[in-house]
Symmetry: C3
Subunit: 341 residues, 3 copies
């Protein structure tokens, strides 16, 4: 609530605020390596998303906090924003309040389901080729079908997030979006090219939402999620993990996508993924195997093996091999470095 007298405005704009200095944390990650993919030239690439973010919390008293987080994404091999075309703050732009009631935020970010699933992914939800995110793991589902090409698969624009407190190991996370148009291309769906089901820059036909429940008990954890996007594709996602010993984590997910609202035939796609993480000294072995089975189309099968070696709590080296069999099959070999700051 600014209420400055007019004479003070210009000069005050330059006052170096001591409080401002302590209210923002600058953070991020840079991940770059070298990879060889079948039939492609050797490339400098990334394994995980590259981030530059700004976040902070403000104590409002009575256990209430204001909080914000805005996060850029970028490509370390070319210096552009993520994929060369994504929004500047592709990571997230959210502001909200946190208290005994949980956390309520508004803006743009990863949906409740897509956020919860990474803990059951043996490759931690990395976006690079050896990971399972966005394809096998979620049965090819995309959260933003009416956004412009180049948008990411796992976010909602124009949405509200509620994260419940953890109660007896159980937590509930909900994301609800508006029907606002976001400038995407037309989707033919059950219509025709002349009269597409969703014309260019269409509004959602129903409010998109995403609900995820998570549960943790001792060495066991589980999630169950359900999401409906702007063109009424539905996604059911379940995950479970167990740590039979401290250094070993086993995990599995199952996803089912229903495109019945836009596809007359073969609307269902199923995906499943099993995997393990095994810690040895400063290193960790990652293994995953999954399949995606679209109705009446060729299966995707992917196996990935990775190794991460911690140089510190913030920096690790990695090496991955991955084999993906689909309409086009690819083998992947990559090494690199990941540095959090």
């Amino acid at each position: 609530m600014k209420n400055t007298s007019f004479a003070a405005i210009a000069l005050a704009a330059f006052a170096t605020s001591a409080t401002a200095q302590t209210s923002v944390t600058v953070y991020g990650a840079i991940d770059a390596g070298i990879a060889k993919v079948t039939d492609k030239t050797l490339a400098v690439t990334k394994r995980d998303a590259n981030k530059l973010g700004f976040r902070g919390t403000e104590d409002l008293g009575n256990g209430l906090k204001a909080l914000f987080q805005i996060e850029m994404r970028y490509e370390p091999d070319t210096g552009t924003v993520e994929s060369g075309s994504r929004p500047l703050f592709q990571g997230q732009t959210r502001v909200g309040l946190q208290g005994d009631f949980g956390m309520l935020r508004i803006g743009r970010g990863v949906t409740a389901v897509q956020d919860a699933k990474d803990a059951f992914d043996p490759f931690n939800g990395i976006s690079g080729t050896p990971g399972f995110k966005g394809d096998v793991e979620v049965a090819g589902y995309t959260s933003q079908p009416l956004d412009p090409a180049g948008s990411s698969n796992d976010r909602f624009n124009n949405a509200v997030w509620y994260n419940s407190p953890v109660m007896g190991g159980f937590a509930l996370n909900v994301t609800a979006g508006t029907k606002e148009a976001n400038g995407g291309a037309a989707i033919t769906g059950l219509g025709s090219s002349a009269a597409p089901q969703y014309p260019a820059n269409a509004e959602a036909s129903a409010n998109p939402f995403s609900v995820a429940g998570t549960y943790k008990l001792g060495m066991m954890a589980a999630m169950l999620g359900y999401e409906r996007n702007a063109i009424e594709t539905k996604l059911l996602h379940a995950g479970v993990s167990v740590n039979p010993m401290p250094e070993l984590k086993l995990m599995a997910t199952y996803a089912r996508q229903d495109q019945g609202h836009t596809k007359a035939v073969n609307p269902d796609t199923k995906g499943w993924l099993v995997g393990a993480n095994y810690t040895v000294g400063a290193g960790r072995v990652l293994f995953g195997y999954g399949q995606k089975t679209p109705d009446g189309a060729v299966k995707t099968k992917q196996a990935s093996l990775g190794y991460e070696y911690n140089l510190s709590k913030r920096t690790f080296l990695y090496a991955d091999v991955s084999d993906k069999k689909a309409a086009t099959s690819v083998k992947y070999y990559g090494v690199g470095v990941h540095h959090n700051f």
Copy 2:
């Protein structure tokens, strides 16, 4: 003035400079809410501009300071730069010196007139629908007519700013721009489509400038400003405010725009705005009513009522209603949160 020996360059680039750490303040604001506008779907939107800025001052001795400020703008509901198309540092990019003589800056920013007027706006110059900025309050005037579509209304590119010190309550602010072309679309004006008065990527036909005088005496404040843009549209802007008691501020502005250089008929537009702010405990009520009267065209009439509730000095919740009658009339209802960091 860098003068490093060649052998030290590569390594020095990575030296973590302690002085650098203290010379930049990272600051900003995030403002997001939910709004309903007549005939539009419920939307996640903003009420005020969203900022991520970097600024600092350096003491040069003898009362002289160097200062800079660069400020990004973004959309919290989609993560893009402001409006999806504005310059990365839409807020401002200025560097300069400050001393007994006042403040002299160069770069890009809000003009002297547009900067001074916000203190006389009952909605503090917010850019959202309930505000009066850029339309009613300034009679529809735009400071950057030769810039590409999507540029903002109230800035000069390629300009110099001088802010005088406050002398006996009086201050003078001046902005002067070059005639440089900025890549805008053609403006037909008094020409024809075949030979527009300002072709695409035209230079200014006269140097744009903006002058604002402000005066403060006890409970009373006033401003008088005059601005001429790159296509020689002129804007006269006057404002006055009074605080009859500490919790009440009354204010009024009058603006007159003369487009005689590019319009043969009906070149004049007038705008006026009256309003009040009333502080009650941690809350503040905002009210404004204004009209814009273009020669020979339909009037715009707007009434807005807002309420801001401070959760802290940096965070407040708000609720607004607004009714705008024009060629197309809209009613607006919105609630949200504003967090400064």
Copy 3:
């Protein structure tokens, strides 16, 4: 290596990390002034690149460090990214390790040759009109010919950097790039418009690389570099400098570009540059003269004289005059301010 349990993810994302706060240095530069160039209107412009960067180092023990640096570029007169079209992090995006072995980095940045040459440039490699960078000094050579229009002249995408430690005054810097396509326009070269030698979005025909050796002994320094870009244009670059007295630095460079891989006739261009820096009190005089001689085409001759006056270690004022004779000749007069933060 993130391994957080699922229940903690959402809340932990907002924990203000004390370590993060100290691991990033925000730095930059803002440089703006006023300049007049022959046949152009008076303009607000820059003399040197404008930067906003984020960097840090992490001590890994045993003399090993992790380091990263990501750097935006922008235009202070319009608020856009550099040139209005360059990548967001145009400056650099690199991550790597540093130890007794030297420094190894991966990402995008200035090549070894282009990085080493600035120390032999009397105008310190500034990008503005009075400088010699990118034209006379490097014989018109460009490091990124297959990148989209608007890319800079002196960087490699998709590359690895090695900087040796300084041994007896000698250091070796190497940059090696992949053949990856980067979305550039077609280059006709020795082909035809119908069948260009490098079609649009072509891969490199050989791995680009850049090698520079630098040597420093007492008051003398020298460099010798060789670079081959993605279309196999070769650049030889040599430089020498001497400080006969502490306040005087004399320098000279020689460059030879061989475009034999894409030009059938007149493939060679030579460039040379001599200059001096002279420190007087808080000021410094800069002088340079150079020529670029392309086979069978008109020569470019440029003389530049500059003066920098230090207001502090971080801020200086400058004034330059420059005279460039080529196919189109221009005279340049400029003044401005440069502020490092």
